[in-house]
């Protein structure tokens, strides 16, 4: 079949095809070139908007990172003090809770002698006086 071909080889055929193609590209009319130029300008405008957005995004990311770092530093330096304060407040609250429970009234009812002694002790009684020892 190939003996009918004018083109002797695939490479030569490709070269000729490419030449014909490039010649047709060079023959493009002015209207087409103008429209292509306008289309390119539109694409360039889109691209520059994209780049601006990209830079803005990088700026936002760096600011967000800086904010996170500042927040981390704040947590690192302020949180321990806050924890101490919280610990002290929670201990006080625990004592208040213990004092406000009904246990002390139960103890008073069961062991009135102890509370009498404690009352005497607080009224400057002798330290060696033990309830029930007399």
């Amino acid at each position: 079949m190939n003996e009918h071909l004018d083109v002797s080889s695939d490479a030569e055929f490709e070269t000729r095809a490419q030449q014909a193609f490039h010649a047709s590209v060079n023959r493009l009319d002015a209207a087409s070139r103008s429209k292509l130029n306008q289309a390119r300008q539109r694409a360039m405008a889109e691209a520059s908007q994209g780049w601006r957005w990209q830079w803005a995004r990088v700026g936002l990311q760096s600011r967000a990172l800086a904010g996170l770092a500042a927040l981390g530093m704040a947590v690192f330096f302020i949180a321990p003090n806050a924890a101490l304060h919280y610990g002290a407040e929670s201990a006080l609250a625990e004592e208040m809770e213990l004092l406000s429970t009904n246990d002390s009234w139960d103890l008073y009812a069961e062991e009135p002698e102890f509370f009498e002694w404690a009352g005497q002790d607080s009224n400057a009684a002798a330290p060696n006086e033990i309830p029930g020892s007399t």
Partner: protein, 210 residues
């Protein structure tokens, strides 16, 4: 006193740094912009001819190329420059397929709507005119123009993948890897399609090709 002196110094330094950053951004923007402009200017005319061969209509081909350029610039301009060409032709190929699908659907709708009536002359593509003389310039009689007309017709009669492989490899000059990337297939597949395309084109054009 030292604090009041220190504050303006720090502000000035920060301003310089910020100015440098702005200059760097502007420089990068400008460099990228110039590279992109050169790239698009380099490929746009060949892309138009390739699209025109595929869709047979100059205005539709212009729309396809414009959409491809905008999509490329919007989404892929930040990619490395050596990846631009296959990506651009991948977009062009997808846009061309989209156009062909829409055209097919539109043809079916028109066929159903007219249901045997004669198609309006404005709607009907003039295939004879397009096949014989798609170029309207004075150079249309030149031998290379005639050769291109025949080549275009033969390419259109190829299976789609063979036509793609031939146009990207032989006409646009992409290498095998770039063609594979643009076509979304393996390099072996590109070689096969390209070889078969050349054989088919040589068989068809050989006797009469100017």
């Amino acid at each position: 006193m030292s604090a009041t002196l220190a504050a303006p110094r720090w502000t000035a330094a920060a301003g310089e740094r910020y100015g440098d950053q702005l200059n760097a951004e502007a420089f990068l923007d400008q460099a990228q912009s110039q590279a992109l402009d050169r790239f698009l200017a380099d490929v746009e005319q060949r892309a138009l001819r390739i699209a025109q061969i595929a869709v047979r209509d100059r205005d539709d081909a212009l729309d396809i190329v414009q959409d491809s350029m905008i999509q490329f610039a919007r989404r892929y301009a930040s990619r490395p420059v050596d990846e631009w060409k296959p990506i651009f032709y991948r977009i062009l190929r997808n846009r061309t397929y989209d156009w062909q699908r829409r055209r097919k659907v539109r043809g079916r709708v028109i066929a159903w709507w007219t249901s045997g009536a004669t198609v309006d002359e404005e709607e009907a593509p003039d295939f004879i005119e397009q096949a014989v003389s798609p170029d309207s310039g004075p150079d249309a009689r030149l031998e290379s123009a005639e050769a291109m007309h025949q080549l275009e017709g033969a390419i259109r009669r190829l299976p789609a993948r063979q036509a793609e492989a031939f146009m990207l490899r032989s006409l646009e000059g992409l290498d095998v890897a770039q063609t594979a990337q643009a076509m979304g297939c393996s390099e072996g597949s590109v070689k096969t399609h390209h070889f078969r395309a050349i054989q088919a084109l040589r068989a068809e054009l050989g006797e009469h090709w100017p």
